[in-house]
Assembly symmetry: C2
């Protein structure tokens, strides 16, 4: 065995070990949200801090740097597992180790303190309370960007943590092309003669039946419950404890059908991606999802392109009607499709429909980019939010609780995360268009309850590839085209022209 | 700060850290039994092996040896936290580090391989299949005893892992005095004119209602569900994830009341002990239970001395009758008490009543002691089992599946563990007698649903003391007397003379 091969084996063994340890931390988190009694809080924090420290120590150990130096001398075929793992492990190692330990600790401390203040500020609708904390967080993230380095914008350095290789300038172009067209579509929809009756999804849907129906839908689209489970929580998520153990969660609202059902479809989409990653490479880049944006593309595709489509409900409406005979009494498929797809500008991102959701994201991207680039002061943030919100969504924000204070992200120090939600929608639409082109009679199959061709295609085109290609290259490889907003716009135009007659 | 104080602080910080890491391993285990989907098995094994290795590395690190050497030079008041922690940490460190790594690995390997063979052997009722594995396990445990060292019997070295300070010779005396009296009592009971009707506990008890009733009983005797939870499993246990997070489990048999209900009381007894340990000392001997035997005394006291007593059912029978009106129709308290306390020799330990249970244990103790001392060959074990079983319990063992192959313990390499079950019953009876003496109107309180005086007494006398005293010293301190079989015998005589008229 050559020197490089030996180094590669040791390197991947070390990285895998830190991945297994991190997977233990994931279980602690899942358990905290789903099972842990309240009294366990303090000890759980101690367990998590200990594991986080151990994982950090492992992934920043000088030994990894030494092994990387040896591996990076060797020649590996582009796209080979070795090349992918060495590239990604090296990228992360350098990003982790270039940060001063003091800065890392300070960010952890400041965001931990900021969280309860943000909760209080939102409750009291008092931005001034949160402002000094946010100022400190922005300053620290700017400091981090300087430590990591960047070519054009300091925001690039942060964005890259969630969407490897993505750049601020490219996003600005992409979102800049998307936003006015969405605003225009939204105006046409709100002016449309057809007004959907959304009240049917607000009838009574008992939670136990919602759960059964959600599980049935998740199973129908291919989620393997032998290697996963589903539980109720307050803030739904999907989390992987390890290969063969993917856990989705959901929240039941007995007076609003969409919340749990499309939450189910969304988290199942994440779960299908996780269940499709190469199990043998767990803990290594060749066993890992590409980026948050690509992950979101999987959840949004199953939630929206499939779950809110007419073919899906041609298959599933009879099951819905059997499960909720009273709530669906007198409701046709057309009626139902309009209700689950209702477009309605509103203040809260997490309640937004497919058209307005992206506008909520683009707004946040523009503001957080300006904060990090230093062209917007935290003090001026609420006014900027309200002004831009009204311009994009046509509504005057009544207060900061329904405006700038609504999301947890900034209090947690997450800058560069929001754009991955919109990227997810763009990727999803472009992937789905490619699937429609490449898979014969794709949506005819949906109407018969046959989702396997789409899942098999996603497995082959995206899941099994893990991190072998950066997001934009993956999009090009899978769809044959550069990432473009036209797929999402075409998808939305086509869908809402039918539903709203615009 | 002096040198010894500094060393003590570092020592306890290291040991606490390994305790926190071990508590993460406990959660992995709980999750595996309660939540994990089947597909997660392989990865869970990897997570557990990684943590076990890390814990082992921490607790056997040479640094602990160096710090112990410094601490052991210092003078600490006997019984002080420092003295207790240094004594116990030192004892364990030496026991762990005197074992050759090769032996530890070999025991792990051999027992892992033996388990599925034992399962198969039990299923096929074929001891010969299991015999070579058991021979190897016995040989390894004998080797371990030689490595650890002992004064009189190699069995001492193993026993000490579960019941610190206990000795084979003392157990032989104790159990030797107990066994013939139990056999005599059993004979009188089986010959008694009063024959209880046990069929009432074999009526239909729906699981959901059993769960609700079990939780009510657990809460009534003081289990804090804010710091704990209860879940269904195949093999019930109680496990602590950390202070404030104690998890009990149970199994529901809809055609046999005793299984879940007394299982609940038993595991709640363990859980109350865990909830009563000093939370601030979690991970240190001053925050830990004394021994398996003392732990078992808590579970058996709540299960039997309380849960199968007349005063308890004076309080709880109306709740039972409300919950299961059909199953309890026409049943009086007397009828019920006789049914839940029915004595009946049988082959299976885990189904045994209060009288025969200890005979099952003493049998195993004598046999495993002989195996480890080399006076009994594994080849002769089944015959020895059957001969002794008939002598003690008056029944001819029909096959090895219902005899020597019934328990998992030996296949897992557990030698020296069984006697702690009988010790638990002895301790429980002696503690309970002291509680009756020291707490005015103790059982009158039970009849009113007031269990707090007993719990408060146990907290003060046993729980808060953690490992400050070895088991036998704790018994002397709490009860004023040396451990004696007379308390258990008096308790059983008194109880069954009433129930059976013997």
């Amino acid at each position: 065995m050559g020197k490089a091969e030996k180094a590669y084996r040791e390197l991947t063994a070390l990285v895998r070990e830190s991945g297994v340890l991190q997977s233990v931390a994931e279980l602690l988190e899942w358990d905290q949200e789903v099972c842990m009694p309240p009294g366990g809080n303090a000890h759980r924090a101690e367990q998590m801090a200990l594991l986080a420290g151990m994982v950090h120590e492992k992934i920043t150990s000088p030994r990894i740097g030494e092994l990387l130096a040896v591996c990076e001398q060797a020649e590996y075929r582009a796209g080979s597992a070795e090349a992918v793992n060495i590239r990604e492990i090296g990228r992360r190692y350098r990003k982790k180790t270039c940060l001063p330990a003091k800065l890392v600790r300070e960010i952890a401390r400041v965001t931990a303190n900021a969280h309860p203040v943000w909760v209080e500020a939102r409750e009291k609708n008092d931005f001034a309370l949160f402002r000094p904390h946010l100022e400190r967080i922005v300053a620290l993230r700017r400091e981090q960007a300087e430590a990591v380095g960047y070519e054009h914008s300091p925001y690039d350095a942060l964005l890259d943590d969630y969407e490897p290789g993505e750049r601020t300038a490219r996003l600005t172009g992409l979102f800049g092309a998307l936003a006015p067209k969405l605003t225009d579509l939204l105006r046409r929809i709100t002016d449309a003669p057809l007004r959907p009756d959304g009240s049917v999804v607000r009838r009574r849907f008992p939670a136990a039946a919602q759960r059964a129906l959600g599980i049935e839908a998740a199973r129908a689209i291919g989620f393997d419950f032998n290697s996963g489970r589903v539980d109720p929580v307050v803030h739904p998520f999907c989390l992987t404890v390890g290969p063969g153990d993917v856990r989705i969660t959901t929240r039941y609202n007995e007076n609003f059908f969409n919340e749990a059902f499309f939450g189910f479809m969304h988290e199942t989409g994440h779960g299908l991606y996780e269940q499709g990653l190469p199990a043998a490479d767990f803990g290594l880049p060749t066993g890992e999802s590409v980026s948050l944006g690509i992950h979101e593309s999987q959840s949004r595709m199953w939630e929206n392109c499939v779950g809110r489509s007419r073919p899906f409900w041609e298959f599933f409406f009879p099951r819905l009607a059997e499960t909720f005979p009273r709530a669906t009494s007198g409701v046709s498929i057309e009626h139902w499709l309009r209700a689950i797809n209702q477009v309605q500008p509103s203040f809260i991102r997490v309640e937004a429909d497919e058209v307005t959701y992206n506008l909520h994201i683009i707004l946040r991207f523009e503001l957080e980019r300006a904060l990090i680039e230093g062209t917007l002061a935290v003090a001026d943030l609420p006014a900027a939010w309200n002004e831009q919100f009204e311009r994009m969504l046509g509504l005057a924000v009544p207060d900061d609780a329904q405006g700038v204070l609504q999301d947890v992200h900034w209090s947690a120090g997450l800058f560069g995360y929001f754009p991955t939600y919109c990227l997810g929608n763009l990727y999803a639409a472009q992937f789905f268009a490619a699937a429609q082109e490449q898979i014969p009679l794709l949506e005819h199959g949906f109407a018969d309850g046959n989702f396997l061709p789409l899942l098999a295609w996603l497995r082959e085109q995206i899941h099994r590839r893990a991190m072998s290609l950066p997001p934009r290259e993956l999009v090009r490889e899978v769809t044959g085209h550069e990432l473009s907003p036209s797929y999402l716009l075409d998808y939305l135009e086509s869908k809402f022209s039918t539903l709203y007659g615009v």
